[in-house]
Amino acid sequence: MVLALAFVPSPPLLLDALGGGSGELRSACLQAISVLDSAERVVVLGAAPSDGWVTGHIDATPYGAPGTPAADPLPLALAVGSTLMGDRPHHLYGVAGGLVPDLGGRTGLLVVGDGSARRTEKAPGHFDERAESFDRQIENAFAAGDPDLLAALDRELAEDLMVGGLTSWRAAASAARHQMGPGGCAPLGWSGQVHLAAAPYGVGYFVASWTPRPT
């Protein structure tokens, strides 16, 4: 059962060895993650080559950071999620299109994924005029705390617009339907909060959190 969710993006620049990102982005992420504090365990959910539990090490050397490459480097999204969790215990689950298994207990989900990489002229994928409205749909889904809106995002368009987060978000939406209600009562739905929605380098970054809707 899921107690709360936090959503963060996965630019490599959030990795400590690559500078750790701007203060604004970093602190928004940490603020969102704080909703997971009351969970019995935290599972980081991020895109990976295959579905399943993952172990390994954060390794920024493939992105040009100094150091020795790890033998078992984590996929980027999981490495970023793990970086943001820091010393707090957490498990890593890679998603490649499948769903998340029953997580049991009072689980907090840290969901790692990005919006469109075609938001501006200088964006990695250049400008696409459809990107901004697509990203607004993503933001609206986060603000509404609505798993159905998140799951309904158009997969083909997302691919065109280089939206990296869809796989993780779909898996998260499915898990979020197994919400743990207050005091074991029936679930009430989610209250969404968007901590940051911006595209400072042409890639849509969303930092959000979902907590149980107040009674």
Binding site: P11, P12, L13, L18, G19, Y63, P66, A117, A123, P124, P200, Y201, G202, V203
Partner: protein, 285 residues
């Protein structure tokens, strides 16, 4: 860690800015001879980010004789005023005279930059008594303010290494703190341009001595001869040599052109991996 009179230096490549209180130096030709002009120049290079300011009162080349009294009067008032205006800046004075060194150290200078192979070796003890720093330079065993004429070396780099490391050990033996000693191969001093080019190419051999290396390359004749250009056209050549030396690990660069040199060094430091890029977003967003 490099340290001058208690002032620790950052672990990056460093810039020493030239400020000449001379009427006749080869590049600035008296532009900062006046006290006010010299002080304004110091303000400017500090603002641009120079790590060390080097004040000189006598041009290197032969010319009008400058007495010790005249030299002192030129540099001392600059040192006094700069010390008051910029208490934390590392202040060097370019002199080969012990008497001048003593006066400027008493006024708060941090380094004595002796470009002439210590013709007055008492300077070491004076520098030590102030806990200050020293630059030990190879000048081809020539007297101060003389030009090389048909100089030759079996191996110029070997000569430089042996000369400057001997001077550096003498300085330490006299009590100069080991972390406050720089060695300088003395480009153009007692050398022809090919010698200076060899020293540039083989900077690594100087670095391998373990002493931090200062390079004084700025707009010198070896650059001018390579390119057949006048001093005011030698910036690019100087910066190319700067990059080559920094890449091999030289630590301090004495220059007329602070901003350009700082940018080159920041670039080389990033390529060497000793400093991180100021911004690192491309392809990582």
């Amino acid at each position: 860690m490099l340290r001058f009179r208690g002032k620790p230096m950052p672990e990056t490549s460093l810039v020493m800015a030239i400020v000449n209180r001379t009427p006749d130096s080869f590049f600035d030709k008296g532009a900062t001879f006046g006290l006010q002009a010299a002080l304004e120049r110091v303000d400017q290079v500090v603002e641009e980010g120079a790590h060390i300011v080097d004040i000189g009162g006598v041009k290197a080349a032969p010319g009008v004789e400058v007495s010790a009294a005249e030299e002192s009067s030129r540099v001392l008032e600059v040192v006094e005023q700069v010390r008051a205006r910029h208490p934390s800046v590392v202040l060097s004075v370019d002199t080969y005279r012990t008497s001048v060194a003593e006066l400027v150290l008493a006024a708060g200078a941090d380094i004595v930059n002796d470009a002439w192979e210590a013709p007055e070796p008492e300077t070491f003890a004076v520098v030590a008594s102030f806990g200050a720093g020293i630059v030990c330079t190879h000048a081809g065993h020539l007297p101060p303010r003389t030009r090389p004429h048909r100089v030759s070396y079996p191996d110029v780099v070997a000569d430089v290494v042996s000369t400057v490391t001997t001077l550096a050990e003498k300085a330490v033996a006299a009590g100069v703190p080991r972390e406050s000693v720089l060695i300088d191969p003395g480009h153009d001093f007692g050398k022809n341009s090919r010698h200076s080019l060899q020293l540039t190419a083989r900077t690594g051999e100087l670095v391998a001595t373990g002493w931090p290396v200062l390079m004084a390359l700025s707009r010198k004749d070896f650059v001018g001869e390579v390119l057949d250009l006048l001093p005011d056209e030698r910036l690019e050549g100087t910066l190319a040599a700067t990059a080559v030396c920094a890449w091999q690990g030289a630590r301090v660069f004495r220059t007329h052109d602070v901003t350009a040199t700082l940018r080159v060094l920041r670039m080389v430091d990033a390529i060497r991996g000793t400093t991180a890029p100021a911004v690192n977003v491309r392809g990582l967003a």
